[in-house]
């Protein structure tokens, strides 16, 4: 059960983040104020990809809650944190982001740190 939930979390998180990042790159820099946030709410309902991304985030959230009932935090946190290695690779391959040695090394160090923190 815990592996099934973990698979759901990984797929939903990766898809949710990629869709959001793709749409937010397309939309240009948004203002970090009340009007900007209201604009984002409207964008969520008017852009299907963005809406799908938010649905994925919700699925990931509830699957994580369920995972916490089925497995200890020391399994749930590092296992789901592993998504960001996958996401960093896909950000380079799919979103064409510049991921140099420094950024890749930093991401791996953060992952290592998260695994140690959850022990």
């Amino acid at each position: 059960m815990k592996w099934l939930l973990l698979a759901v979390i990984v797929v939903a998180t990766v898809l949710g983040d990629l869709l959001q990042s793709y749409e937010m790159k397309r939309s240009g820099e948004q203002a970090a104020n009340a009007r900007g946030l209201a604009r984002l709410l409207r964008m969520i309902v008017s852009r299907p990809f963005l809406f799908l991304g938010i649905v994925c985030m919700a699925i990931s959230f509830f699957a994580f809650m369920a995972l916490l009932q089925a497995a200890p935090l020391s399994f749930a946190v590092p296992a789901s944190a592993a998504t960001f290695v996958l996401e960093t690779a896909l950000a380079k391959l799919v979103l064409k982001e510049e991921v140099g040695a420094r950024r890749a090394a930093g991401a791996l160090l953060v992952l290592g740190g998260v695994v140690l923190l959850a022990r």
Partner: protein, 137 residues
């Protein structure tokens, strides 16, 4: 719509995103512990849980977290944002120590150090890959 956002401003928003997530989760968890009796099996139980003020506050904060994170993703690369928001794990560990009296072991200190070091490394990189001509907007 293509204003250049300074790195300092981006770091400020990263901090806001991390804090909203950590405080939102804490508030939800705090409220949920007082609802341990209910099973959360049917949708009605979820609605009941939302009536708890801590759970409600948590939900509001997590919605704000989602929106500010989207703003952040419009300013910077996904591969830049992800490791930086990993600082949240350190904050969660600190909250665990303060509110749940968990002990801080050596491996947690090392973990905290690794997260900060990794975050600093990623923070030094260029926050946004320039758009290829004809590819933006």
């Amino acid at each position: 719509m293509c204003v250049h956002v300074s790195k300092l401003k981006t770091f400020g928003l990263v901090l806001a995103v991390v804090l909203l997530n950590a405080v939102g989760n804490l508030s939800m968890a705090w409220g949920m512990t007082h609802l341990a009796a209910i099973a959360l099996l049917n949708p009605l139980d979820y609605l009941k849980a939302m009536l708890n003020p801590y759970v409600a506050l948590g939900i509001v904060l997590l919605i704000l977290w989602l929106l500010t994170r989207m703003t952040l993703l419009s300013w910077a690369d996904l591969s830049f944002v992800l490791p930086l928001t990993g600082l949240g794990y350190v904050l969660a560990a600190v909250f665990g120590r303060v509110f749940l009296n968990e002990s801080v072991t050596a491996s947690r200190w090392i973990g905290t150090f690794l997260v900060f070091f990794g975050t600093a490394l990623v923070g030094m990189t260029r926050q946004k890959t320039p758009a290829v001509a004809g590819d933006s907007q």
